[in-house]
């Protein structure tokens, strides 16, 4: 789509130092069509990700290999517009979901929660691949794992309600992060020791940007596993639990 009215930019060679949209040229004073469409497409991907839907059947099917019970839960945010306007509702389970938890009271070490967050696409694509590495590591370390919970219209803090209801010592919550223009499928993992309702973000450790073009599954799983071990050892999570994994090597 480059044409003779587009004034190209001599800075093109600097693009290797930054992903910023530098050196995009101009037509008159405006952004050339090619770059304008690239931007629009990236925004379209991000918008679609926000409204993408959790593939509960697909996840259910794949998660069977772990031989763990799978619970399907829903927050109090009935739909996406409500979810976007009322973050408080996305942090609480609806009544039907709470009832489901009461059937699983046996204490466990770890509970794994998968929530759509701001990009269901992110967990649809990345959650199982990460768990395939992480769950065997946890089992090998003799940690007991409770039911895997799939939550629709969930925010991070909903994990506290769930883990507390299931009597778990630690929660690992996988959630779709706010889509950026360059990453509509970025998954975050939040780890909380002694989860209970009312905790805030400083009580958690977050591993961000998990996706094939970001932090890949193996290093992400290793990082989570390291933090799980440290959390059980120090009986804490959050700002006081530093990720010193790199220093040990």
């Amino acid at each position: 789509m480059e044409d003779d009215v587009t004034i190209s930019n001599p800075l093109t060679s600097l693009k290797e130092f930054t992903a910023a949209r530098i050196a995009i040229g101009r037509v008159g004073n405006s952004i050339p069509l090619k770059q304008s469409m690239e931007f629009k497409l990236a925004h379209a991907h991000a918008r679609d990700a926000v409204y993408s839907v959790l593939d509960t059947d697909g996840l259910d099917h794949k998660l069977k290999v772990f031989n763990l019970p799978v619970l399907h839960l829903h927050s109090q945010a009935a739909n996406r517009p409500k979810y976007l306007k009322r973050p408080d509702l996305g942090r609480k389970l609806d009544d039907e979901s709470k009832d489901q938890l009461s059937d699983h009271k046996t204490s466990t070490d770890v509970v794994i929660i998968i929530a759509d967050g701001l990009s269901a696409d992110a967990v649809n694509r990345n959650a199982f691949s990460l768990l395939k590495i992480l769950i065997p590591e946890l089992l090998l370390a003799k940690l007991s794992i409770g039911p895997i919970c799939i939550v629709e219209q969930g925010r991070v803090a909903i994990g506290d309600d769930i883990a507390h209801g299931l009597n778990a010592k630690l929660s690992i919550l996988l959630i779709g992060e706010r889509p950026g223009l360059s990453s509509a499928d970025s998954m975050g993992a939040y780890l909380t020791y002694k989860p209970k309702p009312g905790l805030t973000d400083e009580s958690r450790n977050c591993i961000s940007n998990i996706r094939p073009h970001g932090l890949t599954y193996k290093p992400a799983a290793d990082k989570i596993f390291y933090l799980v071990n440290e959390a059980f050892k120090l009986k804490i999570s959050g700002v006081a639990l530093k990720d010193n994994a790199g220093l040990l090597k």
């Binding site: 600097l14 930054t18 992903a19 101009r26 004073n29 931007f39 925004h43 926000v50 973050p87 706010r178």
Partner: protein
């Protein structure tokens, strides 16, 4: 004191000024989330009609957050200038709206009453206004500030060049700076949001921009938007700090959540002044604000988000800042849901800030989970240009790869300058001409790859 208005036999009662202000506020998700929004269109208009009859004086007698509990309230009340208030003290909020719109009320008169009006008065009057009123009145005001150049002159329009990078890579940042300068961006400042707040990293970035600025004799100022305590520490280490940055909010508790208070701001302001680096003037502070921050910090005291925002301007004006930037669409849809709400909030903030004497700029922006897109930003950008906004952001291709949101591009500023006949800060304009970046009429020239700005970095 309680307020009321009756519509078709239905009596709407509002228990206090705080409630009246919240119910009179144009609809936005943040006030719904806080549970203080009007419950119907009719209730909102009833509140607005009731608010129109409230005397300006009432805001001096009834504080919306108690004087004893909040140092921002104390700042507002203690600094109120009774003398300058005299000329408008007989007006109600409704009469104040008409007074502001009157033809004879010009920049000089608005400047004269500045010390006599409080943030709450300005927030209240804005709630009775249409977008058009907010633009027409803000347009009257000319707020000029100086450091190495002159910002805010009528007919001029500036940009903060924002060359952020997710890992603060010096080459990546330098590439974005050069790109921006070649599009005529950066006269408000070159300002980086650092990826980390570590003093060593911030020092590195300060030196990077300072070297660049001196090497090419660019008549602008730099700012690394680190926490004020980090900046203070670096000033004590003789770092080249031009502008001292801080995010501020409209309640004491909000500021506590930001890790600041007025005493700390005083200290940082004095320390930055003592460096005496401004060659054209001594406006050394850069503040950022944004509706919703008090609710987000659970520190709003039941006050609507627009009034909280206006209260933050009471802090800003105490320190004669070079730049005040309301980051309007960054906070997300639970506070400002869509383009309509973002546009309204930006015009309110710009109006309130200007009336309180502040050099207002706006980060015309949105996140991907808000119901907004580039068209909404084009609308807002154009409205702000007409309203006489001092500056916007300049970001490569609108895409901030560090903060993950969309703001205005270098091209956006060029569009506005061209369509509205606006120029950069005069000193910067001369520099652009001297560098062969623009011609005498502000048109961009084709850049030769041998241009020294390029050859230095390539």
């Amino acid at each position: 004191m309680s307020y009321q208005f009756t519509i078709r036999n239905k009596v709407y009662r509002f228990n206090d000024l705080k409630t009246l202000l919240a119910k009179a506020s144009p609809y936005r998700t943040g006030d719904v989330l806080a549970g203080i929004c009007a419950e119907s269109y009719e209730e909102r208009v009833a509140a607005q009609i009731a608010l129109a009859d409230v005397p300006l004086k009432a805001f001096l007698n009834e504080t919306i957050i108690p004087y004893e509990q909040d140092e921002i309230t104390r700042l507002i009340i203690d600094n109120h200038d009774v003398e300058t208030f005299k000329s408008i003290s007989h007006l109600t909020i409704g009469e104040f709206r008409d007074w502001l719109l009157s033809e004879e009320i010009d920049n000089k008169i608005l400047s004269d009453i500045e010390g006599g009006i409080t943030p709450e008065m300005v927030a209240a009057v804005s709630k009775l206004m249409r977008n058009q009123d907010l633009i027409a009145i803000a347009k009257k005001r000319e707020i000029i500030t100086r450091f190495r150049n002159t910002i805010g002159l009528k007919g001029h329009f500036s940009t903060r060049l924002q060359p952020n990078h997710p890992t603060d890579d010096p080459k990546g940042i330098a590439a974005s700076i050069i790109d921006g300068l070649l599009y005529g961006s950066g006269d408000a400042c070159i300002g980086i949001n650092p990826a980390t707040d570590s003093p060593a990293a911030v020092m590195h970035l300060l030196n990077l921009i300072d070297r660049l600025r001196q090497q090419f004799e660019i008549p602008t100022q730099s700012c690394i938007l680190s926490h004020i305590t980090t900046t203070l520490e670096l000033i004590n280490k003789k770092a080249p700090v031009d502008l001292c940055f801080q995010s501020i909010g409209g309640t004491e508790q909000t500021n506590t959540s930001f890790g600041i208070n007025l005493a700390l701001l005083d200290e940082a302001y004095q320390a930055t002044l003592s460096l005496n680096r401004g060659t054209g003037g001594q406006n050394v502070m850069y503040f950022e604000t944004g509706q919703g921050s008090s609710l987000s910090a659970n520190a709003h005291h039941g006050v609507d988000q627009q009034t909280c925002e206006a209260r933050a301007y009471a802090i800003a004006r105490k320190y004669k800042p070079l730049l005040v930037n309301t980051v309007v669409g960054f906070i997300g849809p639970e506070y400002l849901y869509d383009g309509k709400q973002i546009i309204r909030a930006a015009l309110e903030d710009h109006f309130c800030g200007k009336l309180l004497g502040l050099p207002m700029g706006v980060d015309v922006c949105y996140t991907n989970h808000a119901e907004a897109d580039q068209d909404d930003m084009d609308n807002l950008l154009t409205l702000l240009g007409v309203a006489g906004c001092n500056f916007i952001m300049g970001i490569p291709g609108s895409d901030d790869i560090m903060l993950n949101y969309q703001s205005t591009s270098f091209h956006d500023a060029l569009y506005l300058r061209k369509t509205l006949g606006l120029k950069p800060a005069p000193e910067f304009e001369q520099w652009l001409i001297k560098q062969g970046i623009t011609d005498d009429f502000g048109n961009l020239l084709t850049i030769n790859p041998a241009h020294k700005l390029l050859s230095e970095i390539l």
